[in-house]
């Protein structure tokens, strides 16, 4: 098990795993979020091919109500 930081909070995940695996683990619909991995945007098409590493920092964002 390895530690990641997701949206500023620690999260433990079994590696190897991809960005898509993480989203499935968290039960998020991959088509409804955007992701930054260590400060770089990961395009939706690359979620499945992007491997996570120990100590990676992720931001997962989605749309909410706003003006």
């Amino acid at each position: 098990m390895s530690q990641l930081t997701v949206n500023g909070k620690p999260l433990v995940l079994a590696l190897p795993a991809t960005v898509l695996d993480l989203l499935n683990h968290l039960a998020f619909d991959s088509s409804k979020v955007a992701i930054e991995l260590n400060g770089t945007i990961v395009p939706l098409a690359c979620f499945d091919a992007t491997e996570l590493n120990r100590n990676d920092r992720l931001e997962i964002v989605c749309f909410v109500g706003g003006g």
Partner: protein, 258 residues
């Protein structure tokens, strides 16, 4: 047809609606429908990793509305650009309502950082709709930078005060080469009508709809206000005068002139 054209795209409604602050997604969806809006703003935030539940986009028909993500929460150009890129990565068209509001109390937009971010985003191919104070000189700079609209505020966000910046907005409208969207502070349909009568191309409303006892009914009322204001602008308003100018004939009175 009197359509609103932004960046070559045509819209029949001149009312844009926000999706924030509604008591429920259902009330929000009903208000969007009643507003007749075709452009709908959304914000981007961190997901709550403990609650992957009720999701906004399930309630906004993407075939019916153009999603206009905002950069709310950005305190400088760098944060705004980051949010815009994330919004595009989240599957939106590259349209962005650029807002940079470092001061949380009045939420007034930072003109310098907004211009900086606009220059970067235009170069990256975004259709940029910048939220600004009603500053005609800034509006010119943004248009020269290639923004698709300018969005001057009527009053600070969420204040419902109306078009307090009227004289400056009039100058922006007079000089504009892109559509002028009056955004923020419009609290009543009469405020929206006022902005449209002045020649604004569109208005954006959120709080006034979200906080109404009946948001859908208020949205319909705003749609009428916008339409009435636009029609009046096109019809041509009479000049404001100081002295009275009789509507009835000044001859044939029932009295003998001495």
């Amino acid at each position: 047809m009197d359509n609103l054209i932004i960046a070559g795209r045509s819209f029949s409604s001149r009312l844009m609606a926000g999706t924030g602050k509604f008591a429920s997604h259902q009330l929000m969806a009903a208000a969007l429908t009643a507003s007749g809006s075709e452009i709908v703003t959304v914000a981007l935030r961190r997901v709550d990793i403990d609650r992957p539940d009720d999701e906004l986009l399930a309630h906004v028909d993407r075939d019916k509305y153009l999603l206009l993500p905002n950069t709310s929460g950005a305190r400088d150009a760098e944060e705004a650009v980051r949010l815009a890129r994330l919004a595009r990565a989240a599957g939106c068209e590259p349209w962005i309502k650029l807002e940079v509001t470092p001061d949380p109390y009045y939420l007034l937009p930072d003109p310098i950082e907004t211009l900086k971010a606009a220059e970067i985003l235009v170069k990256e191919g975004f259709v940029v709709l910048p939220y600004i104070n009603a500053d005609p000189v800034l509006a010119k700079h943004l248009q020269e930078a290639g923004t698709a609209t300018v969005m001057p505020l009527g009053a600070p966000i969420g204040t419902n005060k109306g078009v307090r910046t009227r004289d400056s907005i009039a100058i922006i409208i007079e000089q504009a080469i892109v559509p002028v969207v009056v955004d923020a502070g419009l609290g009543a349909p009469s405020h929206a009508a006022e902005a449209m009568e002045m020649g604004a191309d569109a208005v954006l409303v959120n709080t006034a709809l979200a906080v109404a006892a009946d948001p859908a009914r208020m949205a319909a009322a705003f749609a009428k206000g916008v339409e009435a204001g636009r029609e009046a602008y096109l019809a041509g308003l009479g000049a404001v005068r100081q002295q009275a100018d009789a509507s009835s004939p000044l001859t044939g009175f029932l009295r003998d002139e001495s």
